[in-house]
Amino acid sequence: MNEEKEVKGGIFFTIGFALLSLVWVFPIILVFINSFKKKVYISRQPFSIPTDNMFVKFENYVNGIEKTGLISAFGTSLFITIFSVIFIIVCTSMAAWYIIRVRNKFTSMFYYLCLFSMIVPFQMVMFTLSKIANMLHLSNPVGIILIYLGFGAGLSVFMFTGFVKSIPLEMEEAAMIDGCTPLQTFFKIVFPVMKPTAVSVAILQAMWIWNDYLLPYLVLDLKKYKTIPIAVQYLKGGYGAVDMGAMMAVLVIAVIPIVIFYLVCQKYIIAGVISGAVKG
């Protein structure tokens, strides 16, 4: 609509939105500035630029990384996110295809249970889920992948089945008549067509798993493993005043990779959000 016509007074819109954009990024910039400030000054003078005796170079970063074990938390988060997403994509796309192509009471029941699971808040299952994970020895970065597949299956199955319904049968039938097994048919014919949906699912699940706090906090053995949100919250932990300097540094380290990832993959992220919303 009206795409070609420049809006009347467009320059004022541009200026207004530019100001609003500055307001939007200000909180992040503020944290960045404070990450170079001596910790006692952060709560007292959050809006001043760190100069002379306030400036501490990378001291806060060294502190924050040491106190939280942020490097290994970063590795754990990365491992859990990447492998959970891969596992979710492969398993739920196969499940979705099976559900649509083999119509019987069992598959349709499973489908409706998946839909149902999407509206259940995590608090409903948090206690029992963490106990079950413990009993089955899933309290580690490998075991939690299975938990994420189970708890994240709802949305993924829903999005994939929505897409499979629109794929015509002819190609698959031709492939099977030519002697392909269902597995070959799926990976050679069906999965390549599903790619856009797979990207959307991957983006949505990665955003959820990377940022998730409560599930890994309750499921993981915290003496051995921490994710980034757990490491951040750990600074707040029981012992006295929070080291604000370390906190600022840790926040910056937590945000930077996400911003870079966003700027690189922006197109896919936004497309993923839109197609997820339309089907959700």
């Binding site: 609509m1 009206n2 795409e3 070609e4 809006v7 819109f13 939105f17 530019a18 609003l20 954009s21 939007w24 503020l30 952060i42 959050p46 196969m94 099976y98 083999v102 499973f110 249970l113 699971s117 259940v120 808040p121 995590f122 608090q123 409903m124 299952v125 206690f127 029992t128 106990k131 079950i132 899933l138 938990i147 597949l149 189970g150 708890f151 994240g152 299956a153 709802g154 698959e172 039938e173 099977m176 269902p182 597995l183 940022n211 706090y213 409560l214 980034i228 949100p229 951040v232 919250q233 707040k236 604000m244 926040l251 996400i258 911003v259 936004i270 839109i274 919303a277 339309v278 959700g280």
Partner: protein, 280 residues
Amino acid sequence: MQNSIKKYFPVFLLPTFLAFIIGFIAPFAMGIYLSFCKFTTVTDAQFIGFKNYTKIFSEGDFTHALWYTSAFTVVTVIIINVIAFAIALALTKKIKGRNTFRTVFFMPNLIGGIVLGYIWQLLLNGILLNVGKTLSYSATYGFWGLVILMCWQQIGYMMIIYIAGIQNVPGDIIEAAQVDGVNKWQMLKDIILPMVMPSITVCTFLTLTNSFKLFDQNLALTNGEPSNMSELLALNIYRTFYGRNGWEGVGQAKAVVFFIIVAIIAVAQNKLTRAKEVEQ
């Protein structure tokens, strides 16, 4: 073809199905059962009927959290959707730099709730420093702090969905209306709004459930202070579980009530706005 695929059940459906049972079905069913039990762990549960449920409202904290959450949800749903829609309307017009603005507004969405909470704690406490107070001074401060944080996080996401909706309005309908001489207000009210109703359905649904189920941001920004007065439902349930010995059953019963409320909201909201959608 269906029969040859059917034999492949163990490969296609079984992994997801098993994970779904471990990650969702079993914890959910056990959660329902445990809400009628007294327990400290899964193995020592004793059936006590509805006693947990009658205890839910005995101390007033759940009722307070329920009202606090409801008020928070209503306020954020209205503000986020109105502002996101307005920005989407402006950024679908030809304005210099609109792609940059979209990128900036969407970005906070990728940052996790815990990290967001601490970013805003720094900024809001810094501002409140001028009047000699902090966020934990009263529940009202915490309330508006959470509202501001939530708007900052969600407006960009909803804006993206609204932009997709507005761009889907067929150009010939707009042109026909312009030829008929409708004014800007009529165009918005009678043509654009009804046509983007599907986006409004999705966005109100997402903002409703996100606000109602909010946990991480609440934990990081106010941690319920002062004395649990800024506690949203999810945090209240979490603390009943893990903060008070012997109250696990009540926590689980609260979680069941929470789930039922979320389910009712989700179904009612869906019926209400779907009824207003027009066939395109």
